[in-house]
């Protein structure tokens, strides 16, 4: 599981690659800490290379979203694959996130 955060065109882009399972989640939560202080910038989570996600990963996404919404920003999930999209659907996350 690798995480990179960049600022592109005024948006904070976090690229995740690998499997975000329960074990990887603790690490990922730390790595994604900067996103919790986005200062109103739009957050893009690039899932192009994300193969798997467990509920702990979803919880990280949810806390990022809650924080961003709290400061009037938005979170966009980018290039979500079918397996992850299924999980998002099962949990109802499909309706609270934005996708591109």
């Amino acid at each position: 599981m690798t995480t990179t955060i960049q600022e592109i065109d005024g948006k904070i882009v976090a690229s995740l690659s690998g499997e975000l399972d329960t074990a990887a989640a603790q690490e990922a939560e730390k790595a994604l800490q900067p996103l919790l202080s986005c200062e109103g910038k739009e957050i893009v989570i690039d899932c192009t290379n994300l193969d798997y996600i467990a509920s702990s990963g979803l919880r990280i996404f949810l806390s990022i979203l809650k924080q961003a919404k709290g400061v009037g920003s938005r979170v966009v999930l980018k290039n979500v694959n079918d397996v992850i999209r299924d999980v998002l659907e099962l949990t109802g996350f499909i309706s609270i996130f934005e996708f591109e």
Partner: protein, 708 residues
Amino acid sequence: MYLYESIFSDMDPLKKSWLSRVGLVFIAAVLVEIISIVQYEHVRKLMQEEMEIRSEVVMGAMMQRIEHLLELTEVTMKENLWDVQRCLSRPDSIFASMVRLIDDNPYVVGGCLAFVPHYYPSVGRLFEPYAVKEKGKITVQQIAGPNHDYTRNQEFTFVLDSLKPSWTDPYSYGPDSLNYATYSYPVRDYGGRLAAVCGLDIDLTWLGDTLNAHQPFPSSFSMLLTEEGSLVTGPSKRRFSPELVSKTVDILNGTLPASAIPGLAIRKTKMDRDPYWQLVQVYKVDEAFTRMRRMRRQQMIFILLALAILAFMTNRYARSARKLREASEEQARLSGELSVARNIQQEMLPKTFPPFIYGSVESAREVGGDVFDYFIRDGKVFFCIGDVSGKGVPAAMLMSMIRSLFRMVAQKEDNPSHVLRILNEELCRGNDSNMFATFFMGSLDLYSGEMRFANAGHDKPFLVSDEIALLQAKSNLPLGVFPDTHFEEQTLTFAPGTTLFMYTDGLTEAKNIERKAFGRGAVLEVLRGCTTGASPQDVVSSLSEAAHRFAGEAPQSDDLTMLVVRFDPGHILREQIELSNDLSEVARLSAFVKGFCAKLPVDPKTASGLRLALEEVVVNVINYAFPDQEAGTVSIQADSNYHEVRFTVTDAGIPFDPTSVMEADTTLDAETRPIGGLGVLLARKLMDSISYSRRNGQNVLTLTKTIS
């Protein structure tokens, strides 16, 4: 018009068609009448012509006969005249010559020789010897005298004056009023002096009878008239009134108009020689055709009668044809519906089978009353077989009901005896038609081989392992008999390779042409013949073949259903792993699940789902079953029969049931959603079932999912 319309619009089509048929018959009758009239007129004309020709022929023949008679008489006169002349000079021989004269011709009944006055001065002024035939004897006598002065006779004077032979008009003479006619001939002596008039009498009485002997119609008659039109001879008084005859004569002579006797037809033919008599045939035109008309009328009645019968019959036929058509339409509709029903019923039966179970139904009719079903849940196969009393649609309906109930109830209820109890209660509810069903159900744990079963009056299944025996199932009452029946539950653990063979009596009671039943013994034989490795499908097809071979040409009388379940742990993939209660172990878990799934026919998405579900529950166990951070292990066993995957998660932590954790509400928005509860939600949604139990101080969590 209004009435007409209202009558017809209110009528049902049956009546309408009946009326149209009556109309047709009426038209046919009119046509037949017209044809008959035309035919009648034509025939009448032909007949009239024919009658005229016939009458002409008859009258011609009659006339010829009369003329012939006259000629014969004339010839007789001429041939014998020399003899008479010869005797004139010898008056004593005159009598003899008279005898010879009339003897010569059988038609001549008498003859006279009326001498001119004073021819023989010795005998006085008048002398007339007269010969007469009486009963074959001829007598001659002199008949002239004061009472019989022949010189006043017109004929006599006419012949003397004209010197020509002449025929008298017929006259009546003598006591019998016979009809006579006389041929008179002037006789000269050798000196050339006119001596006498010789007369020959012929009898014409026979003529009247002969003329009327053969008449074409009852009212027709013939007459002979003189040239002047007076009656010579006609029909006898007994047959026709003289009044009618004289009236007819008057009409003929023009003294009475023809209309005096309506419909009278007269044919007349006249002799073309002396005495120019006329032959007349009289008939009534109407009467000539009376018989024909009567015939026509009778014919008409017959035809009308035939038409009426025809109409009646076509009506009957049309009615029965319609009934037949309606019946066949009904039949087609019913068979269409039956085939739909058959499809529905076939759809209800399982079509795909994992390797450890197989079943089949062969219905004797379109739809049947046999049922079997199976489904797999929680690592167990639930199966049933049943036979509804009766056959056909009612049995099929009950069968559908039983199958649906089984599905509904057994999906939730593990205990076969409870399932049967509920089914029985439902079937007894409002069972007015008193139908019932024998039923056997069981659940086989695909991993442990434990079978729980209960029976409701069904034939005991065969248990096939090293040896073959009947399953010692308690019979109990069938379903639908008494609502409070208790169905005892039994348990038996199968050794690996054990096969349970269930069937309906359509198998054991399959009959051959000699009405002999296949029997349980034959079933046993076939089962014995099956190799130990035979799959359930092999067993079913062996028995089906054997039963059909036995029955031969005999029609299948009952539904034939078989169901075979085999406990075959050899088909089960089983892997285990032990994890310590540390979240870092999740990586090992993931690798374990991936490796397990790689050996199964599952797509990546399903494999990912299985991994996620197991991860979520294991993480929960790690997080919550060991609250005091003490070290512990979580063991995971993964099983699959290639149809279903089962994970068993066991730990010795504190009692903890992850299924009792509140699930996240997926409908909440981002702000109000709690962070937790997602794991259980995911595991539930990804698996078919999750069940928890606490056994022997351990938490046992079972997750199953069907993969095929």
